[in-house]
Amino acid sequence: MKQVEILVVGGGPAGLCAAINAAQAGAKVLILERDEKLGGQLIKQTHMFFGSEKQHASVRGIDIARILLDRIHELENIEILVNATVLAIYDDGVVNGEIDGKYVKIKPQKIIVSTGASEKTLAFPNNDLPGIYGAGAVQTLMNVYGVKPGNSVLMLGAGNIGLIVSYQLMQAGVKVKAILDAAPKIGGYLVHASKVRRMGVPIYTGYTVKEAHGNDSLERVTIVELDENWNQVDGTEMDFDVDVLCISVGLSPLGELLWQAGCEMKYVGQLGGFVPVRTEMLETTVEGIFIAGDVCGVEEATSAMVEGYLAGLAAAESLGYEMENLEERRKDYLNQLESLRSGHMGDSIRLGLDKVTVRSEVVKT
């Protein structure tokens, strides 16, 4: 059986940052990534990131991935296995997974779960037609493989992902006919909304998809206005002839491994679904299992990276590794997280985190 000090499950922004900090502290780290490449969703982000210099603001996601991977490859005590899907965490702490088609058992001393989140969908007639894709799926198709999803697109969801993917579709030369969102206001950053608006794409707030039409694949979408009680208003229907409908209605944390490991989970709507109860240092209720990124609650990639750094420190510390300026660094990460979440856009995130974070003061008493 493979022995390792720290196992990082998931090599996206949070997992990479966790591995960097844990390895820099001296721990032997193994990253398991189920995709064939590290970097998670970063490798699809062509836009510049927000935040401050510490989170690589104004650098494009694809380039942040390169910066993090360069650091990972410099650290000799990080082992990377791709095409490696973790399947279970057992009571005796043994983790098993399928690595390159083989069943493998691993015994880590600590685990950092950074499995991310998956795209939600929405119920409406014919929502299973080919041509209706998750917005992230379209991003993968066009930004990783360089294949256009279709000729014309309707985007459902005016959150950051919906707005950003709309912009990226136009960069790839695909017509975006409109963006709609059931909410009465645009949920994403308004600067992203303005970017697509001045390219001539209308945004319909207070609208949802009534029905999709098509035989073997999508041909037309009917949208409808919602009243203040979110009921469809008859007579407000509009039709769009599109061959692609992108669904961007939020993400839900991929917490299956945490459930299985017995971590206490709570449903927190503001964080996207069931998320683990954790300390401020991102340890779950199962000792030795840490978390970072969207699995803790769906947020921006900037906070996922900072969470990763924090969890990496905490896991290495729990193994007894000594680090210079540990307290200072920890405080810095906590401050970064606090400021990223401090604005109005972070209101619901803060509310959600309050429900699942066991503050250190409480632990001491």
Binding site: F50, A57, Y189, V191, S194, R197, I203, S342, G343
Partner: protein, 160 residues
Amino acid sequence: MLEKTGVPTPQEIEEAFPSQERLAKGPVAIIECYQNIPCNPCYTACHKEAIKEFEDINDLPQINHDDCNGCGLCIANCPGLAIMVVDSSYSKDEVLIKIPYEFIPLPEEGMIVKGLDRKGKYVCDVKVVKVLKSKTLDRTPIISIAVPRQYMKVIRNFEM
């Protein structure tokens, strides 16, 4: 309105612009960032300290237009592409607007293109004066367009 449509109101645009006197003096950055989001690269990009240091990263950028020389360093550094530079001293009838443009093909200098407003609606034809593309701009080219003076606060994009 902005949060329903993504289009700023004329008052919001008006407030983002400096005084007539400052405009008359030459190039100046116009920051159209109307929402508190955690982001400060405009401040770090500014060499003239015209954009004030952020107390909180969620603050709206505060620019002292008198300290800004319109160098445009902030344009390609703004992740929201929310900054443009306006040179109102360009000519008697036209102002020069420098905007970020991340699409292909890029226009050529001298080309007449369609000037668009903040809804993407055609306003009038405008001339491409300069196409700036460099490593520092990192795949966010800056296009200078000559815009009839009366549309200084209207035109914010173009298409070919």
